[in-house]
């Protein structure tokens, strides 16, 4: 994309541009962004089209029966996960970024580990551990001499609370990663001023750092909430009836794909409204730094009880979100006789890694294009198109897969029909049922993730630097290449790695769209886990987690390294 844009640099206005178009190529960025956003929004539009053709109006039935319950459960789930990820993510990010306490160096990266743990896996593992038949309750019964579940009270893991806990544990790293990067990139000046004016650690966080980090934290929480809305595996396993459950009932049990699409769109509208409200409320605020005094942050030393509290606060999420489930899986994998160590593993793993890498590259490239185009004095249409392109994240994977199928198959069939008529050759399906459909689906699904990271990165670059570059005669493409890309490469890497890890874990869209005889680690795990045979698939589950760890560690490193002041560059 850069090469293409470069070709026009300094070539003057292209002939098809109107007289009012900026002469420096901004319009080209807008057009490219619109085209890309349109392409990525196609599956969503396909779902809209589906929603316009329901087989039956499902709302009267739903409204008079389960809808109020679904809505309430969904709102509570989002509220719980939203608050949970915000508190854990921001709190731990602040501690490791700004304070010194035992284990800080370890937690910097360890806090990201739960990101490698798919929500459905952690749900299976904790159910095994905490259910009535699980080891914990069995031991309790043994010790206290209880026999039936009526003899004592124990929190039910398969419940709304359980689902909130599971989703919070695996989703808080989104907030943590983005908040920590932002805290690290904040100029030390504002914090020193804050402390000089008599604010302590926590009040500096509340009054200065948090408001400044708000865009990044908002992106993190939004990602967590969207993930929460599209999650079906965890809530279904926990018998928590959210709107997503309604989508699947209407689609599969009532045979009404149109009605299901309508519910999915209502959910989507809800998320869009949330995002819009958040953006609206800070529309007049600017968050880039005008000072770039970025000498290394010393960290506020914590002592005694405070230091221990900080250590415990950082240990718990890692322990519960990663160490415990990973240990259980490892135990199953190495001690259970049912564990299946299949030679196919290598192939599944290769599939997973290749798909994830491809999806990460495409998603970051498109996100950079979109976010940068939006910076080029883009109008409302471009901004709206970009938002539309990133809503795929909030749509349940299986529904999104149908949205991907429709335009892909339509394209394939159109090409086939055209060639049959003109040349007499049938091409069949070129793209549908191939890996490209999968990569496209992942891109649509996870663009919001990479876009959030890239936008957060670009947002911290003050326009005056851009203006300087432009004054020095660089076009938008050269400015991007020479100014922005080097400055936001930490964010690019963050975005790419998040998409990578997300794709490793992705299940529902992969199931529907994959080619023949094709398995990823996630689909392999699902075959067994969905049948309560966690032991059998523990080796593969462990592999999903292991494959997610490396990118997570890279991610941790890149965020640490992204602090410009660290290298003493004179920018």
């Amino acid at each position: 994309m850069t090469a293409e844009a470069d070709a026009f640099q300094g070539a003057g206005p292209a002939p098809e541009l109107s007289a009012a178009a900026p002469i420096d190529g901004r319009r080209r960025w807008h057009v490219a962004a619109l085209a890309t956003a349109g392409l990525v929004a196609m599956p969503v539009l396909a779902i809209v089209w589906k929603a316009l053709n329901p087989t039956e109006n499902i709302w009267p039935h739903l409204a008079s029966t389960v809808l109020p319950g679904y809505v309430l459960t969904t709102v509570l789930l989002m509220l719980g996960v939203g608050v949970g990820t915000f508190v854990i993510g921001t709190g731990t990010a602040w501690l490791v970024a700004m304070c010194r306490f035992p284990g800080r160096g370890l937690f910097q990266w360890a806090l990201l580990l739960p990101l490698a743990m798919p929500g459905y896996l952690i749900a299976y593992v904790y159910t095994d551990l905490l259910e009535f038949a699980g080891p914990l309750q069995s031991v309790l019964r043994e010790v206290f001499g209880w026999s039936t579940r009526r003899d004592y009270w124990f929190p039910e893991i398969r419940s709304l609370g359980g689902a909130i806990a599971m989703l919070t544990l695996v989703l808080y790293p989104y907030v943590y990663a983005l908040a920590r990067a932002t805290f690290l990139e904040q100029s030390i000046c504002v914090l020193e001023v804050s402390r000089t004016l008599g604010r302590g650690t926590w009040r500096s966080l509340r009054d200065v750092a948090l408001p400044l980090a708000r865009p990044a934290i908002a992106v993190g929480v939004t990602l967590a909430l969207m993930e929460c809305l599209n999650d079906f595996g965890t809530v279904d396993f926990f018998a928590v009836r959210t709107l997503t459950a309604g989508v699947f009932d209407v689609w599969l049990r009532m045979g009404n794909a149109g009605g299901a699409a309508q519910i999915a769109l209502v959910m989507l509208a809800f998320v869009v409204l949330l995002i819009w409200a958040e953006r609206r409320s800070r529309v007049r605020q600017r968050f880039h730094h005008t000072s770039s005094k970025l000498r290394p942050i010393e960290g506020i030393p914590l002592h005694g009880r405070k230091a221990w509290a900080a250590t415990v606060a950082c240990t718990l999420p890692v322990l519960l979100g990663f160490a415990v489930p990973a240990t259980v899986l490892a135990d199953y994998a190495f001690t259970s006789e049912a564990a299946q160590w299949s030679p196919d593993f290598f192939r599944h793993a290769l599939n997973s890694l290749g798909l994830s890498a491809a999806a990460a590259l495409v998603a970051v490239a498109l996100a950079t294009l979109l976010a940068y185009a939006a910076r080029q004095r883009a109008g409302g249409i471009v901004h709206a198109a970009i938002r539309l392109a990133s809503v795929g994240y909030a749509i349940p994977g299986a529904v999104l897969a149908i949205g991907v199928l429709i335009p892909f198959a339509a394209f394939d069939n159109a090409v086939d029909g055209f060639l049959r008529q003109t040349v007499g050759i049938s091409t069949g399906l070129i793209l549908s049922g191939t890996v490209s459909a999968l990569v496209f689906a992942y891109t649509v699904r996870f663009l919001a993730v990479s876009l959030g990271a890239v936008e957060a990165g670009l947002g911290r670059i003050t326009p005056s630097m851009e203006m300087a570059a432009r004054t020095l005669g660089h076009g938008p493409s050269a400015t991007l290449r020479r100014l922005h890309l080097p400055m936001i490469r930490g964010s690019l890497l963050t975005g790419g790695l998040l998409v990578f890890v997300d794709t490793m874990k992705e299940l529902p869209a992969t199931l529907v769209l994959r080619p023949f005889n094709f398995d990823t680690l996630a689909t392999f795990v699902y075959q067994y886990a969905s049948d309560e045979r966690l032991e059998a698939c523990a080796p593969a589950a462990l592999a999903v987690v292991a494959a997610g760890i490396l990118p997570v560690l890279l991610l941790a490193r890149s965020v640490g390294a992204a602090r410009p002041g660290r290298r003493g560059r004179d920018d």
Binding site: T65, V66, F132, A133, S147, T148, E156, F238, A239, R241, D249, W251, R253, M254, G255, A257, E337, A338, L350, L353, G354, A357, A358, A360, L361, I402, L405, I406, A409, A410, D412, D416, S426, G428, L429, S432, G433, V435, R489, L492, L493, G496, F500, P508, V512, R514, P515, F516, N517, F518, T523, Q527, Y528, S530, D531, E532, E535, R557, S558, A561
Partner: protein, 344 residues
């Protein structure tokens, strides 16, 4: 580091793309393409036997949801030859979506009794599975429960476990109750059953038996083959040994409610001949025996004997309600589950 990483990512992406394209097209001669809603490990032994016998290679995509939508979108160019699925409702969905075509085959007609196939040949059942009541050996006396209707009896209050009322198998059972008793009576029954639940509907059929073993409940609904599957699994064997399988009757008849797994020929089938061969093979003696012995399902082919283990659970009479009636009432059943708030 950023560059190295990008390089590594690009490199692996290209390598994988190359691997994929090498495995390429699935429409060549000697193949049959299967869209399966059944789990791979259930059908793998059957497909292996088919390839050994005929030399035809099988290609499978397994997905629980969205298969019919995929075929609809792919249209005339869909590579699918057959759909393998459970539940008459799912077969009916495929028929109504217009993605299947009729088959007329003497072999199929001979192997599959008329009540187990569509009169127009658009779908064929391959196995039937009884929906059983599993009763705790030590807490429920033999003969204490003999019908589905008795599940609503208040004496079982707080003693019954089931999976979600919206699961295909429970929906099919409820549809059968509606067919036998009418909507009003069936709804009263479902309300009674809900009132007897020991816990919110959750998990799968095996999970319910496990709950009986652990003393959470005394009765559970589950398909018959899970009993066999659990008995042959070291970890799950104690669960199965804690229960007695009961073949309940429905609607005052002697019949037990059954659901089916089945197959349909895709409308677009590029390898039509191979697909029909596969359908004939799966309904034939060899495959039906694998279904019976490896999966503990009941073969639809009357010439094939039940497995000795399955036989040991006793003979039963399947409910003679036509499968089409269950398929038709499925929508009403799902809505009833919502009205009663069964899943809570």
């Amino acid at each position: 580091m950023f560059r190295t990483l990008t390089g590594a990512l690009l490199g692996s992406a290209i390598a994988v793309a190359a691997t994929f394209s090498a495995t390429g097209s699935a429409a060549a001669a000697g193949e049959v393409n299967i869209y399966s809603l059944r789990q791979p490990f259930l059908i793998e032994p059957l497909l292996k036997a088919f390839t050994e016998k005929t030399g035809i290679k099988t290609n499978v995509v397994f997905a629980k949801d969205g298969v019919v939508e995929r075929m609809k979108a792919e249209g005339a160019n869909s590579p699918a030859d057959v759909i393998l699925t459970v539940d008459i409702g799912r077969l009916n969905d495929a028929v109504e979506a217009g993605v299947v075509q009729p088959v007329s085959s003497k072999t199929l007609d001979a192997n599959v009794p008329a009540s187990f196939r569509d009169p127009e040949g658009r779908w064929f059942a391959l196995t039937q599975r009884a929906r059983l009541i599993y009763a705790a050996k030590d807490r429920v006396k033999p003969g204490e429960i003999t019908s589905y209707e008795q599940l609503a009896d208040p004496k079982w209050k707080g003693r019954i476990c089931t999976r979600s009322g919206k699961h295909d198998y429970n929906v099919a059972l409820l549809a059968a109750m509606i067919a036998h008793h009418g909507e009003a009576k069936a709804e009263t029954w479902l309300e009674g059953l809900k009132a007897n639940l020991a816990r919110k509907p959750q998990g799968n059929d095996r999970g319910q038996v496990k709950a009986i073993k652990e003393g959470e409940c005394d009765l559970a609904l589950g398909n018959n083959y899970y009993y066999g599957a659990m008995l042959s699994n070291d970890e799950q064997k104690p669960w199965a040994e804690a229960v007695n399988p009961v073949f309940p009757t429905i609607g005052g008849t002697k019949g037990t409610h059954v659901n089916v797994s089945g197959i349909a020929l895709s409308k677009s089938a590029p390898n039509r001949d191979n697909a029909v061969k596969l359908m004939e093979f799966l309904s034939g003696n060899d495959a039906q025996e694998i279904y019976a012995t490896a999966n503990y399902e009941y073969p639809v082919n009357p010439q094939v004997k039940w497995s000795p283990l399955v036989e040991s659970w006793g003979r039963f009479t399947p409910d003679d309600l036509p499968l089409s009636a269950i398929a038709e009432l499925r929508g009403a059943a799902v809505k009833m589950v919502d009205r009663v708030g069964y899943d809570g």
